[in-house]
């Protein structure tokens, strides 16, 4: 299962449609809160998290998900400048970052 947490509605839809067209099952969420309450990611899942989320920050969400017992693979997505990304990303994890604008290949290498 692939999870997408992305607040921009078009980006979220485009990513979801892309995975669907490859017949990969995926679920998309607009913010960290709804992801945490509705999704139950498992160890062989992948979660794409936009760092720039309203409410619960992307970096906090990544920390929470990484702390799960059977933590899924996490990939951060960001359109921010590099120094903001390095400042925001939790330092304990080695979360890979995909930077916008992105192509499908950028995401497909992780699934």
């Amino acid at each position: 299962m692939i999870y997408i947490v992305e607040d921009d509605v078009s980006v979220r839809d485009a990513i979801a449609r892309m995975f669907e067209s490859l017949e990969l099952s995926c679920a998309a969420f607009a913010d960290g809160e709804s992801f945490l309450s509705d999704a139950s990611p498992r160890i062989d899942d992948t979660v794409f998290v936009d760092l720039h989320l309203p409410g619960l920050a992307g970096s906090d969400l990544i920390e929470k998900v990484a702390a799960l017992d059977e933590a899924p693979q996490i990939v951060a997505i960001s359109g921010q400048p590099l120094w903001k990304i390095t400042r925001d990303l939790p330092k304990i994890t080695t979360t890979p970052v995909v930077r916008k604008p992105l192509k499908e290949q950028d995401l497909l290498v992780y699934v």
């Binding site: 980006v11 359109g79 400048p81 916008k100 499908e104």
Partner: protein
């Protein structure tokens, strides 16, 4: 009638330099303030030509200046005063404000020069000028950066969606039972163009990325004083009182001083504008600290900001002013956030002015 010793003590008490010469340019009186200004003792120069105290270009002509004046009575400096350049014993040039008077005495025509040392004033003006021009440059750079970053980020989103939609559509077209080749070719071309747009955005972003805050240890109290000084220049006429209550001059903070200065100058300047027509015209900058943060507060005695005004404050492009060093609160806030801090306005209180709080994180290297 004053005694001669009394006259000498008057001369030596004077803050300004006083020199009396005769009509040949020979120094008759040279007071203590002059000794400090030029580095020569009185005994070294009394009896010598006054051009000893001038740079060579002026020194050569000075005797002629005196003769011209005595002949024509047409004053160039006598009774007028002007800014001139003197020469210190060590050869350095000294900016001086010189006023000259003349007297007919029993021993002939004499000239009295009163000299004000402008070195401190000049240095101060120069420092202020450099500060101001740094701020202006940084303001331009920051505005461009912010715009670049904003465009890069805003365009990124639709561009990402566009690229993924196109790639997905192209794949579907290929997988169709009867692939429409011209259609597929068009979609591939569209993907290439979207990629090209992406590369432009990336280049723009790389450019902006070089402009991360340059944080170095900075004395916060001095920085605040500098900001107040910069704003005072524009408020000399309307007696607004600008005060800083933070006097811990040993306190150092890691920050990009020019950027933080921009925020503070902006806040202090706004505050100065707000109190201009108030009975009490006061702007107070204070500092509070806790373990993780420093809070720099700018308080004014203006009319305050109601909820309606506050709701528009930090939005880009909503400002009502279009001049000066102001960089706008939207950019100020984003600079603060780039430092890991924030810029907030305290809620409205009846009868109180506005208070803006700049929060800056105290990082490990900061020392108190």
């Amino acid at each position: 009638m004053v005694s001669s010793s009394c006259l000498h003590s008057v001369l030596d008490t004077a803050v300004n330099g006083i020199i009396v010469i005769d009509d040949n340019g020979t120094i008759l009186i040279y007071n203590r303030a002059c000794e400090n200004m030029f580095g020569y003792k009185s005994a070294e120069v009394v009896g010598k030509n006054v051009n000893t105290l001038m740079p060579s270009a002026t020194a050569k002509q000075h005797d002629q200046f005196i003769r011209n004046y005595l002949k024509s009575g047409d004053p160039k400096v006598v009774g007028i005063g002007r800014e001139v350049v003197g020469r210190h014993k060590d050869g350095t040039e000294i900016p001086i404000e010189l006023s000259v008077g003349e007297a007919q005495t029993e021993s002939g025509h004499q000239f009295i020069g009163v000299l004000k040392d402008l070195r401190a004033t000049k240095e101060y003006e120069e420092r202020l000028r450099v500060l101001q021009s740094n701020l202006v440059t940084m303001t331009r750079v920051n505005a461009l950066d912010e715009m670049g970053a904003a465009i890069a980020h805003e365009v990124n989103q639709p561009l990402t969606a566009l690229m993924l939609y196109l790639q997905t559509a192209a794949r579907r077209a290929r997988a169709a039972d009867q692939p429409d080749d011209p259609m597929i070719s068009l979609m591939d071309k569209a993907v290439v163009e979207a990629e090209r747009a992406g590369q432009i955005i990336q280049r723009m972003r790389n450019f902006v990325e070089r402009q991360a805050p340059q944080c170095i240890g900075t004395g916060l109290a001095t920085l605040i004083d500098d900001c107040l000084e910069l704003v005072r220049v524009g408020h000399e006429a309307d007696d607004v009182e600008f005060i800083s209550t933070f006097v811990d001059y040993n306190y150092q903070l890691e920050l990009d001083s020019v950027q933080i200065q921009q925020i503070l100058v902006n806040l202090i300047r706004n505050a100065g504008e707000a109190v201009k027509d108030q009975p009490v015209k006061q702007v107070v900058v204070s500092v509070e600290r806790d373990d993780d943060n420093v809070f720099v507060k700018v308080m004014d005695t203006g009319p305050g900001l109601d909820e309606e005004a506050v709701s528009h404050l930090f939005k880009a492009f909503t400002g009502t002013k279009r001049r000066g060093l102001g960089i706008g609160l939207a950019i100020s806030r984003s600079i603060a956030q780039n430092h890991g801090g924030d810029l907030l306005v305290e809620p409205y209180e009846e009868g109180k002015g506005a208070t803006f709080t700049l929060r800056l994180p105290v990082n490990s290297k900061a020392t108190s």
